[in-house]
Amino acid sequence: MSTNERIDDLHGPGKVSTVFLIDDDPSARRGLARLIQAAGYAVTTFGSAQEFLASGLNDAPGCMVLDIRMPELSGLDLQEQLLRADYSMPIIFITGHGDIPMSVQAMKRGAIDFLPKPVEREQLLGAIRQALEKDQVARSARDESRELQDRLQLLKTREHEVMSFVIAGFLNKQIAGELGITEATVKVHRARLMDKLRVTSVAELVTLAQKAGIPAAKPAAP
């Protein structure tokens, strides 16, 4: 990994995001790195897929510009490995060898684009822009759900139970009856869980539960 090509360009769209360029050919690698850098992105280059895997940057914010034909571990192999490990960094493939079956396979697996060498600037920078946006969207979505999970982690078992009844539309009295506790206690649990989950209304709570995939409780059989 070479970090000297990384710049902090405040005007660029990827202030923290980095373009990871992986190509075994030194000429292509240097040229592409310089172009991406000149466009204002931070670039880190690798001479092989293994080097990238060894760097531990699999989950870093950014995108990958990946040569598809490389000795030993090809670009496609790397894509497959990352997918299997549930990493979702967007990938732009580049190749010196027009190969339609391969491009189809790559695109099916969610690649942003498949560009032939020598790569045109607008195509490449467009693809990078698109990839970084996608990464940011995915990343913020992932952050949101992670934060939600964090909040849900704070709930006690009883609070969970109370919540599942609340989102199912039960009244406090009904919940108390279902759980065999007093209505006052239900109110306390309810206030606490609303507080922990930082929601102010039942509607908000229902939305949150839906996002987090928490099922609503069903009334016990009469």
Binding site: D24, D25, S27, A28, R30, G31, L32, R34, L35, Q37, A38, A39, R69, M70, P71, E72, S74, I94, G96, H97, K117, P118, V119, E120, R121
Partner: protein
């Protein structure tokens, strides 16, 4: 009568000897015949002696011609048969000499101490004198000399017989032995007074001389016959020389001046015979071939070789060049000194042209192979070219962006230009290599480090390996000796071999495709290059056939690649072989002689044109 006959024979052979001074046999025969004539005359005197004193004196003097006769006969036999113990010959001569000395020491002679009387006996109607007297015991010396002579003759004759010369051994040995026995016997009977009779030793010796003469004339006849044969064979040789469909020429061994040429030689060179006889061998030879030819002739002159052969060029009268194959030999005189050079000359211009045409075809084929290999590698080459092109385009486009910055980053712009320059060079090198590879002409032989060949071929094939998902590794000996060769042809060989291996592995569809190229210098005299693949290898029966033309295991292949490799490697005095590796896959092994090694004589694949 005996005397006359002997004198005639002696005269004839003396003449022969005078004409040919080294024919000692004739001289010895002459002496023998002469002495027999003298002995005959003395015997006649003996028979007509009127007193005992006269008889004693004649008998004494008879020992002188007798001595000459014995010595002549001894050496005649030695020379004639070529066998006979030399020491025994000297002993006989010595004994005879002692007898001669004793003869003159005694009175009246060696045979008698005293001749008491003369007896008159009738012989062929005439009365002849026969000596009666007291025998001299020293006469035994003479008789033992005769005995020694007999032993010498028998020994010489049996040796000659054993060596296969039956007729001469029998004739000469027989007549001499019988002659000695009869002569010595008669002398003994007479001297010891057992049977009184006149001497007729000359008759015995005459028989001997006649047989000797007959034998010698046989030799003369044979010589005449040989001379006749020689004449015939000379005529045969001349017509063979003159009429031969092959050019023939004789030349002086030192100056090379032509001394004899035939018609065909005139045709080959375009000169007339008279014009040629005023020229030397070297005048005809192409200047570039003179040195080579001179060396070959010198080795024959110095007897390091019997004959010489060379393929060289003559310049014809009209200035055109004719290729000839010359087979020459040095003819020597009796003393072994070079007498003349004799050579046959064959016009091989057509063969040379055919060879040149074949070489041209081989070259064409090799070229077609290179073109088709390049065709098959087009995708790989495009891939390889696109790398520096990507570098150039991206750098240039980066440059455009950098110029929009204020202020432009000049350091980065310098980097852009530097990279553009080096990438352009790289692209240009790839194109140059392709162009060289596709060129039709041969490249001159030059010292080549095979590691460089490997690297250049990998430049073309690296992308191919990546595309085919083949792991390529090299183990190159750093201090590899050089080989003498055509770099493009050697690249072609390696490219064919590696391309074959890659195709074999691609068809095998194995998961671990591994190709290893190794170079090693075997003891500094050979360079060994191996290419190992992890493909399916070959059926044992097909291993020997892989280098044959049109052998292929690929449906789309024409099977010329490895055959061309073999012809190229053989033209480099090397060898190429295929074997299945024990761990699976095929190994192609190329061996080439290293330069500096005396065996690294390199032929030109194309031959001379």
């Amino acid at each position: 009568m005996t005397g006359a006959m002997c004198l005639t024979l002696a005269g004839v052979h003396l003449l022969v000897w005078l004409r040919a001074r080294d024919s000692w046999l004739n001289l010895l025969f002459s002496c023998s015949a002469l002495t027999v004539a003298i002995i005959a005359g003395l015997e006649l005197l003996l028979m007509h002696s009127r007193s005992t004193t006269q008889l004693g004196t004649v008998q004494r003097w008879m020992h002188v011609p007798f001595w000459v006769l014995v010595v002549s006969l001894v050496w005649f036999l030695r020379l004639y048969l070529g066998f006979g113990r030399t020491w025994l010959a000297w002993t006989v001569c010595g004994a005879r000499t002692i007898a001669l000395i004793l003869n003159f020491a005694f009175h009246p002679n060696l045979n008698f101490r005293e001749i008491t009387s003369l007896r008159q006996m009738p012989l062929w109607g005439e009365m002849v004198s026969v000596p009666i007297g007291i025998t001299n015991p020293w006469t035994l010396v003479g008789q033992s000399c005769s005995f020694l002579f007999l032993i010498y003759v028998v020994d010489a004759a049996t040796t000659a017989w054993r060596h296969g010369d039956h007729r001469r051994a029998l004739m000469m040995g027989g007549v001499m032995s019988i002659g000695i026995i009869v002569a010595a016997g008669q002398a003994a009977l007479l001297v010891w007074g057992i049977v009184p009779m006149p001497y007729f030793l000359s008759l015995v010796f005459l028989t001997m001389v006649l047989v000797m003469s007959y034998e010698l004339s046989q030799d003369l006849l044979r010589a005449a016959q040989l001379a006749g044969q020689l004449q015939t064979s000379e005529a045969e040789f001349r017509s063979l020389f003159e009429l031969s469909a092959v050019g023939a020429a004789q030349a002086h061994p030192d100056t090379g001046r032509l001394t004899r040429v035939n018609n065909r030689f005139c045709e080959i060179t375009g000169y007339s015979a008279n014009e040629l006889l005023a020229k030397t061998y070297w005048d005809l030879t192409h200047p570039e071939d003179v040195a080579m030819d001179a060396v070959r002739i010198q080795t024959v002159k110095e007897r390091q070789a019997e004959t010489w052969e060379s393929e060289k060029r003559y310049i014809r009268k009209d200035g055109s060049v004719v290729w000839v194959s010359v087979n020459g030999t040095m003819i020597r005189d009796k003393k072994g000194l070079p007498y003349c050079m004799l050579a046959t000359i064959l016009d091989i211009t057509r063969r040379r042209q055919a060879e040149a045409a074949a070489a041209e075809q081989r070259r064409e084929l090799a070229h077609v192979n290179r073109v088709s290999t390049m065709g098959e590698l087009a995708a790989s080459l495009a891939h390889e070219l696109k790398q520096p092109l990507t570098g150039i385009l991206s750098n240039a486009q980066a440059g455009e962006l950098l110029l929009q910055h204020t202020p432009p980053d000049t350091g980065e712009l310098q980097g852009v230009l530097k990279d553009v320059i080096s990438d352009t060079r790289r692209a240009s090198e790839i194109i140059d290599q392709m162009r060289n590879f596709l060129r039709k002409r041969d490249t001159p032989r030059q010292p080549v480090i095979f590691n460089v060949i490997v690297e250049e071929v990998l430049r073309i094939l690296r992308s191919e390996a990546v595309i085919r998902d083949i792991r390529l590794s090299t183990e190159l000996e750093p201090s590899l000796p050089q080989v003498m060769g055509d770099p493009i042809q050697l690249q072609q060989v390696l490219l064919n071999v590696i391309a074959n291996a890659q195709q074999a592995m691609a068809r095998a569809n194995s998961s671990a495709r591994q190709l290893t190229i190794r170079t090693a210098g075997n003891g500094g005299t050979r360079v060994v290059v191996t290419v190992d693949d992890s493909g399916p290898g070959l059926e044992p029966g097909t291993l020997e056939r892989v280098f044959q033309p049109f052998f292929t295991t690929r449906p789309e292949g024409i099977g010329m690649g490895l055959a061309i490799c073999m012809s190229i490697i053989e033209a480099h005095c090397g060898s190429i072989s295929a074997e299945n590796r024990p761990e699976g896959g095929l190994r192609i092994r190329i061996e080439l002689p290293a330069t500096g090694n005396s065996t690294s004589r390199v032929q030109n694949l194309g031959g001379q044109t």
